[in-house]
Symmetry: none
Subunit: 135 residues, 4 copies
């Protein structure tokens, strides 16, 4: 299973919160490893309390499935093939803001989860964090 070094996780968090500040969003940022276990977390000032758990669940969702969280959400709508998948794994979050970290062999090494802004902001902030990742 891939690993994220502690210093690398902090760089991802820094890149994400920098982007959030540019977008004037107050978010929570969570980094998990390939096993979905928390590696680093930061709550920005004025972020909603509800975002603490959501950011971590987005990261875990992306790590467990190797997908952007919203991709899973497309399949979990009523009538869809994975309807209700959110009830598994201690609770998944399947809207945007979770992005897997893929290493140069194509393997999922971890994930980043962001919550607190609009759907578009969370996705952009998570992408900015993931872009700082180098396997």
């Amino acid at each position: 299973m891939g690993r994220i070094r502690s210093t690398s996780a902090e760089e991802l968090v820094n890149a994400a919160t920098k982007k959030a500040t540019e977008l004037r969003a107050a978010v929570c940022v969570a980094i998990v490893d390939a096993g979905g276990h928390l590696q680093a977390f930061r709550r920005m000032d004025h972020a909603m309390l509800g975002s603490i758990d959501i950011s971590q669940k987005k990261a875990r969702t992306s790590a467990y499935f190797g997908l952007n969280s919203e991709v899973l959400g497309q399949a979990s709508q009523p009538g869809g093939p994975f309807y209700g998948v959110e009830n598994s794994n201690g609770g998944l979050i399947t809207f945007s803001g979770g992005v897997p970290l893929i290493d140069n062999t194509g393997e999922t090494t971890g994930a980043i989860g962001v919550s607190g802004g609009t759907s578009e902001q969370d996705a952009a902030i998570a992408r900015a964090g993931a872009a700082a990742f180098s396997a």
Copy 2:
């Protein structure tokens, strides 16, 4: 983070149950602080058992997001940007009956949650309770 005094919380519960009696509804009323922690709770005679947990989850939902619970529910419908958000934070309730308590600096100091009547009754009772709040 704001606080609600114990005597103030009781006043909110009294205002809410007074309104419920006027509307001939039997409800549960929960007051939580800014951290979502229970401050006061009352179950009126003949209120449904299922409302005990729902009222508390509505209050917590409003405290965690600083929003009326049903506002979050508008975004959590199938196809919406926060579809399935109810699976986070130990279980959220995103229909009406949760109202945040905003102090005079605009900060969320806590919330009230009401369950047991119709959707409209719960919302009106929660508003009546929140109206008794003075920061």
Copy 3:
């Protein structure tokens, strides 16, 4: 299953918090019905956050077993007949502060749970609350 009227539950809470004030303790007080379901709750100013859950678990423990919570605790010590019983029922608390409410037919009608003071204070406050109960 016995019932506690809402007004009666408030009287118990008032009697308990009055006693707590006399003892200079800041506590949480929970009243549950015969089924262990929350009827009324009050958190006094300055009570520890950890007491919110403990007071409710003490009340539920007493309602579920018809015993003072510490009586169960005597049997749950290492080597005792009910060792580890605290892991059942969503978590029990088996030290003092939970007292069942017994009606005049000898039936358990509910319970009161108190947390926030010393062991002796919690027990005395719970007894003061229970003494206000008349079936």
Copy 4:
């Protein structure tokens, strides 16, 4: 209820991990606010997976009771007045490594929790983190 600024939380994490490095320990460090909600978290390289949850529960335990986690543990031993308290509040950890952050008015503003080293190391690392706190 007190608050910890995001930058301040990072300083505490930095002070704690610096101390851990000096002690050649690999730990997880969690900072929570007065309500016990996660503010910042870092897992050092080679820290045990089991420490992720323990560090957070230590921090929450200290925030909920305003005490070093091991103080509660002294009272929760078999035969003690709070035996089994660990079964409350979603799981508490009552051995050393949790330290409350007390502001200059004597109020609990949050807490730090450390796990991964020996009992003495965790305590020393948590104290080093807490020492970086200025209300």
